[in-house]
Amino acid sequence: MKKKNWIAGVIIQAVIFTAGIAFAGNISINGSTTVLPIAQKVAEAYMKEHPDTAISISGGGSGNGIKAIIDKTTDIANSSRAIKKEESEQAKAKGSNPVEFIVAFDCIVPVVHPSNPLKNLTLDQLKAMYKGEIKNWKEIGGADKPIVVISRDTSSGTYEVWEEKVMKKERVFPRALLQASNGAIVQAVSKNPNAVGYIGLGYMDKSVKMLSANGINGSKETTLNKTYPISRPLYMYTPAQPKGDVKKFLDYMLSSKGQKLVEEEGFIPLK
């Protein structure tokens, strides 16, 4: 008897649960893992205000997201790069008409220990350091100390920007230390006078010192006027002009509320 009750309970719960999902408005978001934390945060806030909308988000990379737009299998695609010409042609051939929204900017700054006398590094110097060609700070005008290069895990968006803008697609040498988050890099650099690392601008604090790149300081202004070299826009694409729930969500994303969350996640808001 008891056993039967238990089974009935499970069935009832399952029914309630699935029904709850089925009645709600659905938005599916797919694509870049760099944009993922922004989408996640904004989606959570949005769902709190609109409990009848369910948003499902998955990663998978910019390429996968844009492919989903081409195949019209997702409502919104996150991407850390602009759509390529071949991709938009493919989309048109399949009857989809991708619409682009810039939702935030990524700005990555090189950081060193506060005791380090350097103020600026060129992109070429940074690249040589991360390739293991410059091994001592004195080669670039610092003290006679070995350079400890700290990098991010290769699947992070931060690493992706660094690889694209600084390394120009060449490999970071294997001796580079790896930290799994921006916070961990700050922690490691602040404890080591020999270290150099890179973080999203939003994670800067007083325990580390920011260096300018090619003489330009990373900031909201230099990112938005596109003079700072280690930055990029982050995109969301829809397969057609957005309507209904999708439009409401994107409007929320671009509103001051959404952009505030973007800033909280360590990215540069649009304004």
Binding site: G59, K169, R171, R175, L178, A180, Q187
Partner: protein, 297 residues
């Protein structure tokens, strides 16, 4: 009446059997999942190149999936930590079980066991914030996040395991053995070395192997303090990236069912085989050197 009691008996037996079966089934399913998600990488790269490849660049194009530096790092970190934790753990156990006054033992034992209760992230943070700068300044090395630091932190974690299991083993040596030895004129020291330790060697070995398998599988500590450079270590103070650290750092953002994802699961298979090897050895040692009764010494 009798019928009812038999039925109760039977249902209790079935209940416990299904509980036991459930845990085995879950373990088995996790194993199948691990292999299913890991094996596809070997369509892209041979097992030999995967295990003995020297470069780990999973996201560059073309990617390199060589985990040899990661395997070496895991082995190196485990061995160095064993070199620190085995003497510490076993000697503490001997002291606690045989030499210490009862009151002191009652004080020290909970403290050692409390060390086991420290979350690994706390130990990792300690290693990162306190030990790493200390190593940098004391030894004048470029970075304190290295093999030695990781091994030291891991031994903090395996000492309690090694100590408490060895202590139980030493403690459960029959008193008659000890008294016999003393009655024959052996000193306390001779009794300890010639009788008590040989009699408990199976338990002590199990303790050591379990401690080491804890060290090789530990993730958080090595992720935080080992440095994470995917290169073959040449010195004790080189940064390294053991297998669990690589999996933990990269798994979250590896594209689902992409090559990188499969390669990380395949790394998990290698790690699983290592820990299984440790368990098989432990099991073997227990059976081979088991002290049965008092007459088999």
């Amino acid at each position: 009446m009798k019928n009812k009691r038999q039925r109760t008996d039977k249902s209790v037996r079935i209940f416990f059997f299904s509980v036991a079966l459930a845990s085995i089934a879950i373990l088995f399913m996790i194993m199948i999942f691990l292999f299913m998600e890991g094996i596809p990488i070997f369509k892209k790269i041979s097992i030999y190149d995967f295990i003995f490849g020297k470069y780990w660049y999973p996201t560059s194009s073309p990617p390199d999936f060589g985990i040899f530096p990661l395997i070496l790092a895991s082995i190196a970190v485990t061995l160095v930590s064993a070199a620190i934790s085995i003497p510490l753990g076993v000697m503490t156990a001997i002291y606690l079980a045989e030499l210490a006054h009862k009151r002191i033992a009652e004080l020290i034992k909970p403290v050692v066991e409390l060390l086991a209760a420290l979350p690994s992230v706390v130990i990792g943070f300690f290693g990162m914030v306190i030990v790493a700068p200390f190593l940098q300044e004391t030894f004048g090395i470029p970075t304190g996040l290295n093999l030695f630091n990781a091994a030291l932190m891991l031994s903090f974690m395996s000492v309690p395991t090694i100590c408490s299991i060895s202590e139980d083993a030493i403690y459960s040596v029959p008193v008659a053995l000890k008294e016999g030895s003393l009655a024959l004129g052996a000193t306390h020291w001779e009794t300890l070395i010639r009788v008590i330790i040989p009699a408990s060697i199976s338990g002590i070995s199990t303790a050591i192997i379990l401690g080491m398998s804890r060290a090789i599988g530990e993730t958080m500590v090595v992720l935080m303090v080992a440095g994470g450079a995917a290169m073959i270590p040449e010195s004790l103070f080189d940064p390294v990236r053991p297998m669990p650290a690589s999996i933990a750092a990269e798994m979250a953002e590896a594209p689902f069912r992409g090559d990188h994802y499969y390669a990380l699961f395949a790394t998990g298979i290698v790690l699983f085989l290592f820990t299984m090897l440790f368990n098989v050895i432990a099991d073997h040692v227990v059976h081979k050197y088991r002290q049965t009764g008092e007459a088999s010494l």
